[in-house]
Symmetry: D2
Subunit: 389 residues, 4 copies
């Protein structure tokens, strides 16, 4: 890289949860700098946020439309290289569309769009513009997730038979949206979140993680949504049986009413020769299981010689025992995205490793997964196939 | 109790897995003594086993039929008070029937019978004879299982919403029955195990545990059996979605091909106000979760004053930090059974607490659960209701 | 074995903590039966306890003196084969001496005697009588302790460099003896416990465990006793630096005021090539550490082929994942003692494996360790050598 | 803050371990930006590193002397506000001295200096210049460390009785410096590291953590250094008994030969009413222990209302269950330092909370601790008092 990559941001102003996280993640490896933003649909708030981020006033915009317009007119050496989109779900596609039409590369939060139809349109737009598109299924950035993927890809587990993946939270165990809590309000609102709350917000991370690690695709699923909190408009709990395309069977469950669970995203995979287990809440450890010898505790960044995959090793920054967390994993996506974008901008071929970030096709799979869950549940938890599997 | 209770045993001879465990469990609390047995269908083996158990020759019988006949003819002060049945599944009901007809109380291994029809007959027999019948769903004997039951019964979790229960093993990940391994052979043989391997052998423990702890009943289930090991005659993996009778939702999964899992029986329950989590492999710990304060680690035998339920306290024998395990939990069932039987023999009313052991109705529920799983799976993982829920 | 070994008991009547545990441990493997006892210095209490243990009245004695006398006069086929001594510390040696003089083999609780001088006399008595003497340093009975010992003995860790061993409890964090709590009263009383409370009661277990696992001997120690609870007559906390006879360095700490610690006996050993870690509160797991590859989690009873030592395998009774605990470990000592005694009684050579239980020399080491701790602490935590190392 | 704080760096060029970490930590919260550096004593390497950090050529200096000179001459709106010093130990004081004399505020790596004499001079210099001085005892930045400190400061544990603190590593278990490994070479070299390797590099973190959390001071210590690896010039293992100024007793041990330990920095504190336990390798969890109720698992960022201290809450950035790690904790020190510096630059009073970072007096305590350890060990592990306790 010859210079830092310049980032603009849509959404993520003060009081937002995910905006500051994107910023920390983007800047962590000193390869990206925030240069402009339209941080809120309220221009005053946007201005306030720009100031808090130490941006110059003329790069803090009252709306994303104005930002794209103004930035596009800046000289190449100044204008932003890509925009990161961290708005609520219903405001993903409009911003994505406008950004692409304005010639900007995109890093977008998930779920990719509001519904499957938007996602299909977006795929076409990305393909036709040739612009770079990344999606922050951030959990795939953890070193031990990459180690897990590598162990399976290199056949150390044999043919995969069973996958258990979970994403449980407890923060919506009460009627929080009724207290006007901002995060709860839009996530449980069909107008802003889409047809699903629990699966759209976190279940799709579980789906993405399972498919990323195993390389398998969901072929069929049987899903039941439940809304436990009275008055809530979308489901807050979902349980699935799954058939994968190689014949493996799976369970996926996701919940926002599992009291005192924080972000319990965990996965277990069993193959003919071995198994593995990983938990996002202790992300630097991967348990490896064998048919006839003791299980091993693989640790991120550990000094095992060539026993630790380069994929996992290079995703970390610290020696073993100095824990890396959520922000660092998130930053791996930004780092890879920035490397790829930098190569593209310099007219070079991006190296293989830096292409390892979720893209528009992963986003489409996610949207088709959400769509399938909704269809299955509405049919009384009957078996259905995702449309794009 | 005025004297030790006298036990006979059917099955459980040398080389058996579960026989010696029943004996250790039965005798642990010094309230039961083994006085006779028919340890094998092979009279020579039975004799050999009796010797190893230090039984007199005249109380070691070549068959259960002869044992029941001979013991029934002994004077009351000598003959066995009850028989424990630890044969393979297909040999449960014939022995149970003969025992009841001969006037003997029974402690039986699970699943209760070979099929649901036998189970229904057995219920009638037990009811008509008035004899005492216990079933060794041994995991309910753990102090922290009783603590969990108590916490829910006393409404500390609020209305129950979600139950995740699992029993995973890995020992059948390969075609072990083809190597004539004794335990694998009969468990995977439809002629001896019944219509199910994985659910019948261990899934039913998960079902029993979930219903015991929560006091809820399974209303509907959607179950898929899979046989992953080629050549195997029964399922080695099963995944279920469940609806409980109060509207709670659940997942139950059971596996014998989950490599390097030992006896991973674990349960998580979430209610409106709290949650709990327990794992059989670390049985002396119960995790208690709250809406708005830190989770607590409840420890068996701990000195919490009245914060630990009498039910859990009395199920243990040691101060906290001196771990009790599988045999001790198993022994709790025998201890309660023996207390109840002793009271009955002395013409007294058994105390409430000692009635806490699984009985013929729990066994019937287990058999109807297995039956429902088979029916659901055969229908392509469709929703069905257990016949006796 | 041709018959069960017959055991008498001194101490351990109703209300005692350790008596019933010895009984459960002794009888667990169906090789020992309780035939007589003098359960209390109060004859009425002894009688009451005998009844609760279902002993015949004529084998329940008002005093140990009468028991030894009467039992010695019984015919060989009836009289007890050995006596187990479970009295407070000051009543160990008088009973041991009388037992040996009466011709009875002994299983004794620890610390072996009240002071070092008694211990020296006892060694002479055991040697001169040729009777069998076992000491219940029960923690060495755990399968994973035996596995640890085996790994070091077979040089898998290389030369040992560092040993960290701990036994922490919290139950004496308050002035419990002032509330007449029975267990606290005698343990903190110099007249009944000896010159040390914390080290004598539990620190000596840590010392025994470290020496048993590593095969090393303590050469020098620097020990500081502290009495944190005002009014207490003996130390309730002790911290040591240690030099072992091969040059290894160590830390040993023991405490009874470490709030909410239960029986946290744990050990870590580091050698030139590897390390290991074990915790009594999760006794079925041994962590094995390597220079250049992931740590392994060794599990009791696991199916690792010859990777699990026969020593650890045979010390267990259950397949992996069915936890064994404190009583089972305790019972391993009784089982080995009974096998050895049985061989001796039958005029046979006991097999090597069954000789694996703590004996009078281990007891002497324990007493000399306690003595050294007292001397070091009284000198202001100066370095001293145990007298018999 | 009205603008980002401008940082220069001395040391930390390419191939360095700690330089990039300081940079990530400094920039994480978007309050500090790197503006210049002298990254190596080799001017070519420094230039190379500056380029990799995307610095302009004229702000990448060939030596720290030239950097201080040139930066001091820049207009106030451009020049660096403080310098971070990340050189090996022997190059701390010369750089610190020159920086202070040039009028620059300092953030310095630890141990503060090469020896106690330098540290004393430094204290005088800092005091006389009135410049701001921070020291990166980074582990105190973890939210749960701050929670622990708060729990003790607010008397929730009662009077402190016992402290066990450890920092174990295994990376120097072999003669790594003989293979010219850069990190090993200088840390084991008395000319560059000082009189101690293990205690100077990591033991001092343990000391700092114990004193930070408890608010106590070490009054006396008894320390034994051991050099286990043949040919090594400094100690690679150290074990201490400690007396604190309130009468509490402690153990501190530190090791670099504990095979397969990564950065096992952990602490346990016991008081009259409670205890707590924290491990750097799982930094988002704090275990809280009570006299008479179950232990609690306190989680960073958790939604406990006012049960979580503001000190710990504000030290984190993410909701519970999204783990923060080493870099985030490190960044807390930089954030507080930057806030304090910003206030100072703007002529304001820094708020209380932002003063929470280690300063020159903590550094002096650390150096006097190292000095005391060396003196004690050289005297044969005799009791000594640190000079400044």
């Amino acid at each position: 890289m010859q210079r830092k990559i310049r980032m603009g941001m849509v959404g993520g102003g003060q009081g937002a949860f995910i905006g500051p996280i994107h910023l920390m993640a983007a800047q962590l490896d000193n390869q990206i700098e925030l240069v402009c933003g339209a941080f809120s649909s309220d221009p005053a708030k946007s201005k306030e946020s720009g100031k808090a981020y130490f941006l110059p006033e003329n790069r803090t915009y009252p709306s994303y439309e104005e930002m794209f317009k103004a930035e596009a007119e800046l000289p190449e050496g100044d204008r932003m290289d890509f925009v990161t989109i961290v708005t609520p779900n219903h405001m993903h596609f409009p911003v994505q569309k406008r950004a692409l039409e304005s010639g900007f590369n995109i890093m977008s939060d998930k779920p990719m769009c509001f519904n499957l139809s938007e996602a299909e349109q977006l795929v076409d737009l990305v393909n036709s513009t040739g612009l770079l598109f990344g999606l922050t299924h951030n959990y795939t950035g953890y070193p031990m997730v990459k180690e897990a993927k590598h162990r399976i890809a290199s056949d150390q587990l044999g043919k995969i038979r069973k996958i258990i993946v979970e994403y449980s939270q407890g923060w919506l165990a009460t009627f929080l949206e009724n207290e006007h809590q901002k995060q709860a309000s839009w996530r449980t609102d069909p107008e802003r979140a889409g047809a699903s709350c629990c699966i759209g917000d976190i279940g799709t991370h579980a789906e993405n993680l399972a498919e990323y690690i195993t390389g398998l695709k969901i072929a069929e699923l049987c899903c039941e949504f439940t809304t436990f909190v009275e008055g809530r408009l979308l489901e807050d709990d979902a349980n699935l049986l799954i058939k994968y395309d190689n014949g493996a069977r799976g369970i996926l469950y996701s919940s926002q009413i599992s009291v005192d669970e924080e972000n319990r995203l965990s996965i277990r995979v069993y193959g003919e020769k071995g198994g593995l287990e990983w938990d996002q809440q202790e992300p630097n450890t991967l348990v490896l299981k064998h048919l006839d010898r003791p299980r091993e505790i693989i640790r991120a960044g550990a000094n095992y010689g060539d026993r630790l995959s380069p994929q996992s090793f290079s995703a970390g920054r610290l020696p073993a025992g100095h824990p890396e967390g959520y922000i660092e994993a998130f930053a791996v996506l930004y780092r890879n995205f920035a490397s790829t974008l930098s190569a593209k901008l310099e007219g070079l071929q991006p190296d293989e490793a830096s292409l390892d970030f979720p893209d528009v096709n992963d986003g489409l799979r996610g949207m088709s997964f959400i769509d399938a869950c909704v269809r299955s549940s509405e049919a009384g938890a009957q078996w259905v196939s995702p449309k794009f599997s």
